[in-house]
């Protein structure tokens, strides 16, 4: 019986709203925009942070990256011509660091050192500027690398300092547009390296190297060779020709990737590694990158971002709610006589409250439904128009819809109460 009556009240509410179609539609528009903007804004925010988080995740959340960094005071010295010509600048991580990390830090699973040297790689007449990365066979286990063809470096290659290399798929395409790379050798500096495998890197962000050195270069031009080969072929002192002068650097390792057993170990190891390195480096010539921390930061940023976007959108919902309240108050005044008649014919106060509340809720829920539809379409359009990634999450839809319903009740309650509290005699006399 109660259910039947509720249905009747809802039908009555719709009927009353249909009496002023334009007015009801305009009132609903406020809620439609509110709900739409909540969903769309959260979808854009979610999409932006998703892209950043994916990049960080590819670094491996169990990893800690340590990179050699040219110390700022050394750089200044060199630029000013203070250092004697021909003297090499010595900085960065050492083989000893790698060994110490492996031996002393608890929870370490693997330590993968690598040397990253910028060199042009040639095949026939094609020449491509590359990063020649000397590393150990575990490299594949520590970072996101997918073997496309052939094999990766092996222990045997390492022991025999073999002149072999594994190249990235992008480079293979550039160097060997028509031929099978596995049949050929590439030339780096003065030596030839036989191509034994092709890999695809899934964790591209990792290859961001020391600042400013490789701007504008595609990131997947990488040649992997055994660490021992890198050591013997290139030596410890790297000479680079800049305009009119030489620049010599002595760097043993450019990067050490420390893989921990689990994320818990990452947190404890982070300060330990810092202490250990500080003890053996008298200058600040390295940097620590903890993807897990970056991830947390990114999440915190996202949360802040969501709160800002959400509150902007919530304000528009609030404005929509005030619009509803305004219209309903006018509605109550306009229908004072009707309220009086209904009261005389036996309507209790709560019947009147319910009737007007149902009208506002119908307005706001109706607006909410349309808003959800428009709000789910908007991010799709934004994605198509721009390159921004957008993700419509279920919770944002539910929250937006829930808020629109709540707005209807909160802002409808006052006008409905005002209608119910009218004195029936006064209401009947109202013109």
């Amino acid at each position: 019986m109660l259910r039947l009556q509720l249905i009747a009240i809802i039908r009555l509410g719709i009927k009353s709203l249909m009496l002023h179609k334009l007015r009801s539609a305009l009132t609903m528009l406020g809620i439609i925009f509110g709900v739409c903007s909540v969903i769309a804004m959260l979808a854009i925010g979610e999409g932006a942070s998703y892209a950043a988080q994916e990049a960080i995740k590819k670094l491996g959340s169990n990893n800690i990256l340590i990179r050699s960094l040219k110390p700022p005071e050394a750089a200044r010295q060199q630029q000013g011509g203070g250092g004697p010509r021909g003297m090499s600048l010595k900085y960065g991580l050492t083989y000893a660091d790698g060994a110490r990390l492996q031996a002393t830090i608890p929870g370490v699973k693997r330590v993968v050192p690598s040397r990253i040297i910028r060199e042009n790689v040639r095949f026939g007449r094609t020449e491509v500027p590359c990063q020649v990365i000397g590393t150990l066979p575990f490299f594949t286990e520590v970072t996101g690398v997918e073997l496309v063809r052939g094999r990766f470096l092996s222990d045997l290659d390492e022991r025999h300092q073999n002149n072999i290399c594994v190249i990235t798929a992008g480079l293979a395409q550039r160097l060997f547009p028509t031929e099978d790379p596995l049949q050929h050798s590439v030339k780096v500096d003065a030596f030839y390296y036989r191509v034994v495998g092709i890999i695809r890197e899934t964790g591209k962000a990792e290859q961001r190297t020391q600042a400013g050195k490789m701007e504008g270069q595609p990131l997947d031009n990488n040649v992997y060779i055994p660490l021992s080969t890198s050591r013997t072929r290139f030596g410890e002192v790297l000479i680079r020709r800049t305009a009119g002068s030489f620049e010599a650097e002595e760097v043993q390792l450019h990067q050490i990737t420390v893989q921990m057993q689990d994320t818990a170990a990452v947190e404890t190891a982070d300060p330990q590694i810092k202490t250990l390195l500080r003890r053996f480096h008298d200058q600040n010539d390295y940097e620590l990158i903890v993807p897990l921390e970056l991830l947390r930061e990114a999440e915190a940023t996202k949360r802040r971002f969501n709160i800002v976007l959400g509150s902007i959108a919530a304000i528009s919902l609030l404005v929509g709610g005030i619009g509803i309240m305004n219209i309903m108050l006018a509605n109550v005044t306009e229908r004072t006589r009707e309220i009086g008649v209904r009261r005389a014919l036996g309507a209790k106060r709560r019947d009147i409250t319910l009737q007007f509340l149902v009208e506002t809720v119908v307005l706001s829920i109706g607006g909410g439904l349309i808003g959800v539809l428009v709000g789910m379409l908007t991010p799709v359009v934004v994605s198509m128009a721009t390159d921004m990634k957008t993700i419509v999450t279920l919770w944002s839809v539910l929250v937006a819809f829930g808020i629109s319903g709540a707005v209807g009740i909160v802002f409808g309650l006052y006008p409905a109460r005002a209608a119910a509290m009218l004195d029936p005699i006064e209401a009947l006399r109202h013109e």
Binding site: M1, A8, K15, L19, A344, G346, I425
Partner: protein, 244 residues
């Protein structure tokens, strides 16, 4: 007194009914100063009086739209003078049929839906009472206009819808407030004929009017003045209380 009130033939019985409006401070208006009267089953009573005589207040009290500040009011044997708002709403819905001067139909509802309103608030299943509503519409001669809206009807037709609406909950009394005030004399006479017919069929009617010709149709007329009943005129002998 209680024995008097509990006699079933008394539809309405007031005992020392008072109403005082407090306008703040010592400023008060005594609209009713103790009214004793009764209306029997099948009676047809008119209330007349100049403005300020307490006529409207009397109507509001009889209609349970307001509460007296003193005295007792028995409606169908129950003292309704101290009931709360919800109980009074229920009493209005069950025991009183209202006919207003300005018809007071609800504009967004059709004729049929307007007739159904009192049933709606009593929680009736509107589907089951549809037949009765149609019958009432036929009774007032609007059986072919069920789907019309009030603004598609003439004043006389609207008032007839209002009469059908006042009958739908089978009330103890029908309370008519200047039912012909907005109508020309011809349609007014038609409406009054309809009310007369209802009375002949056994309905108890209380009517408020300024018009002597309207009042002349009632069995008796009470004239009010300064918050009390000034005099009572018997036009025709009231119907003998039937043995049933």
């Amino acid at each position: 007194m209680a024995s008097l009130a509990s006699q079933p033939e008394w539809m309405i019985r007031t005992v020392g009914l008072q109403k005082t409006y407090f306008l703040g401070g010592e400023n008060r208006v005594h609209a009713l100063r103790g009214v004793d009267m009764g209306v029997r089953r099948g009676d047809y009573m008119a209330i007349m009086g100049p403005s300020g005589s307490g006529k409207s207040t009397m109507l509001n009290l009889i209609g349970c739209l307001d509460r007296p500040t003193g005295g007792q009011y028995f409606l169908g044997g129950d003292d309704v003078s101290q009931m709360d708002d919800d109980a009074l709403s229920a009493i209005r819905g069950e025991r009183i049929g209202f006919i207003f001067q300005s018809y007071n139909l609800i504009p967004q509802l059709t004729v049929l839906e307007n007739i159904q309103v009192p049933l709606f608030y009593q929680g009736h299943d509107l589907g089951k009472t549809l037949h009765r509503c149609r019958e009432l519409a036929n009774l007032v001669g609007l059986g072919d206009r069920l789907d019309h809206r009030p603004n598609q009807l003439s004043g006389g037709q609207q008032q007839r819808v209002a009469i059908a609406r006042s009958l739908v909950n089978d009330p103890l009394i029908i309370l008519a407030d200047e039912p012909t005030g907005n109508l020309d004399s011809k349609t007014g006479a038609e409406v009054l004929d309809l009310i007369d017919r209802l009375n002949r069929e056994g309905k108890t009617i209380v009517l408020v009017t300024h018009d002597d010709k309207v009042a002349a149709r009632a069995h008796r007329v009470i004239h009010m003045k300064d918050g009390v009943i000034d005099r009572e005129v018997i036009n025709r002998p009231p119907p003998t209380p039937s043995a049933s």
